[in-house]
Subunit: 363 residues, 2 copies
């Protein structure tokens, strides 16, 4: 829509300058193969559906009463699964909200926040929103993080691990190097995709007073529809997140989301089996795409980042879409010849491969 | 917990100063009569439970896929019920989140935001959080808003109508006077309790380009457990809210909350019947409390604000709590001799009255 300058006078001046995040498309068309927003192709644990049914049995009170503003039951379930004290857990309305609170709680500093040039594209948006100064550090030519760059003066560091959209993971030794080099800055490891093959930094929380690890139930727990994210850190950092959260929205997680997420964290066997399935499918898909001539970056995530020398990536994304297959294409410097493709079920991956074969045969 | 000065160095300086909101207690004890957070004593429409069951039938995809980031279906249902174009609707994770976005979108200005000294206690919290300048305007001795005060230079106005915790409503003529006197400021009418007997300003949205009306499903729709709030305004104001929302969290409302709220907005008959029941119970309770010697302010809400000359309100709140009845007591200037009491079912209100009789007989 067009907003006139006269109408603009009602907006806060800083809001006039915002460049909001654009989420991956959620198409409403049937029979589309949706490999564009890194959702899990498998449903969550059957215990999740049971838990929601159980909330409904107590119907009346479940809905008419506010949820626990602290979501204590959920924090407890996360603490148990992650093997940390409950005081180390913060929860929010998806990891996007948790990240927003992290930016406000730690990164509004005189010195700039450091993050990679190719990483989660919400970071610059949060930074602008909260007035966080930033310094963007280029990945190397292999799209890897250059640890030495993270040893300069800063007001905070955020690293996605495995990184998105590159899918490449950093080892814990390198993360420890960053933590040790920055004793006065908060270092956030955003682990949205960690369960698909990277090492979690949660094991380092006890040792490092400057570490915050952020995770989500949207990917490895198949609960994107429910919006539950969390952070693990020492209590003096959790306290800052609670202060921010309670200055913004007291009750961010509803009763169904709390019950469903608790059930998910309690079913460790399902969780491990499902992640193993996604990892196995990924390895198979990487081989098949390599056979088609794709260069695929080494992935520790539930998606791959792939490029084809013989075909423009933007064109390829469009031709896939014409065939009903949606992948994510970023028209941005350095990565505009890559496609980010979510790992689907075996059947879905085969449809992708067959569709690619048809398109490439024509080219 | 105690946080040392050394640990504090990790917090953003402005976050060290925050004084977060403290929500009404959600006690986990059984058999407590909870009249402290203005929840509806009746369950939501049975259609709400049916709608959630229906989401569960499509189980897998419902949970593993992100919800519609725009919650279009929900906006459509609200638009229809409120008789406004869908372009006039914004939705969020409870009206607390909607209000937070409102403060950021409109009130970060050179001139101060105007609001009453006795009103929703989250307003000063949001103001501090977003760096909004404020000017607090005292209610008169009858706890009414003084319209003349809202004609001074300002960067925005927010009025709770009916006001909380006073329960007193303002008429639309007075609201129009405020709107007309402030053609360059956004005027927000926070109508969390409007369905219990006040006139909504939604009917004025078409006429006033500076009006935002905020409502919630937590009170009159018995959906506090689900976290859905909304705002109605002209599209040039909705656009500012969308820019803020998409700079903070793309998917704030989960699939169950969307489905449940849609079902609620579609069942107008249940909604009207339930509100009528609460209003009738309120009138009866007001009479009974008056008979016990209480002075009760004229309420257009699902709660009352009452004082007793013969007994300290803080002590009375404590004695009620000892008997298992929790009401809200604010230990603040001007209102520290009042109790805010949520309207319960007939049976609950009788328990309150009987408990009060026992306590007062002893005093």
């Amino acid at each position: 829509m067009n907003i006139t300058a006269e109408q603009m006078r009602f907006w806060s001046p800083e809001v006039r300058e915002l460049e909001p995040y654009i989420p991956g498309e959620q198409p409403k068309i049937q029979n589309i193969l949706k490999l564009n927003t890194n959702e899990n192709p498998y449903p969550p644990s059957p215990k999740v559906v049971e838990a929601i049914q159980k909330v409904l049995v107590n119907g009346a009170d479940a809905l008419r009463l506010y949820p626990d503003p602290d979501a204590s039951e959920l924090k407890q379930a996360i603490a148990q699964q992650q093997k940390v004290p409950v005081e180390n857990v913060f929860v929010g309305n998806g990891s996007d909200e948790v990240l927003a609170h992290i930016f406000k709680a730690f990164f509004v500093q005189d010195l700039p926040l450091l993050y990679a040039d190719i990483t989660y594209s919400f970071y610059p948006v949060y930074s602008q929103f909260f007035g966080v100064k930033t310094k963007v550090l280029p990945l190397n030519d292999n799209f890897e993080i250059v640890i030495a760059d993270y040893k300069q003066p800063n007001g905070g560091i955020i690293i996605t691990n495995p990184n998105a959209p590159t899918s490449i993971a950093l080892g814990l030794a390198e993360i420890q190097e960053v933590l040790q080099s920055n004793p006065n800055s908060v270092v956030v490891i955003d682990e949205a995709y960690v369960d698909f093959g990277a090492e979690s930094a949660v094991s380092l929380v006890e040792k490092y007073e400057n570490l915050v690890v952020c995770q989500t139930t949207s990917k490895s727990r198949s609960l994107a529809g429910l919006r539950v994210g969390y952070a693990i850190a020492q209590p003096h950092l959790i306290a800052a997140l609670e202060a921010v959260k309670n200055s913004f929205n007291s009750y961010p997680i509803d009763r169904f989301a709390i019950a469903a997420a608790v059930a998910s964290f309690e079913d460790q066997a399902y969780f491990e089996a499902q992640n193993a399935k996604v990892i196995a499918s990924r390895e198979k898909l990487v081989n098949e795409l390599s056979d088609l001539g794709f260069k695929v970056l080494p992935s520790s995530a539930n998606f791959i980042f792939a490029t084809l020398a013989s075909k423009d990536a933007g064109e390829l994304a469009n031709e896939l879409r014409e065939q009903g297959v949606i992948v994510r294409y970023f028209n941005k410097p350095r990565i505009n010849q890559y496609l980010r493709i979510t790992i689907g079920t075996e059947v879905q991956n085969q449809r992708l491969v067959e569709t690619l074969k048809v398109i490439l045969a024509k080219s």
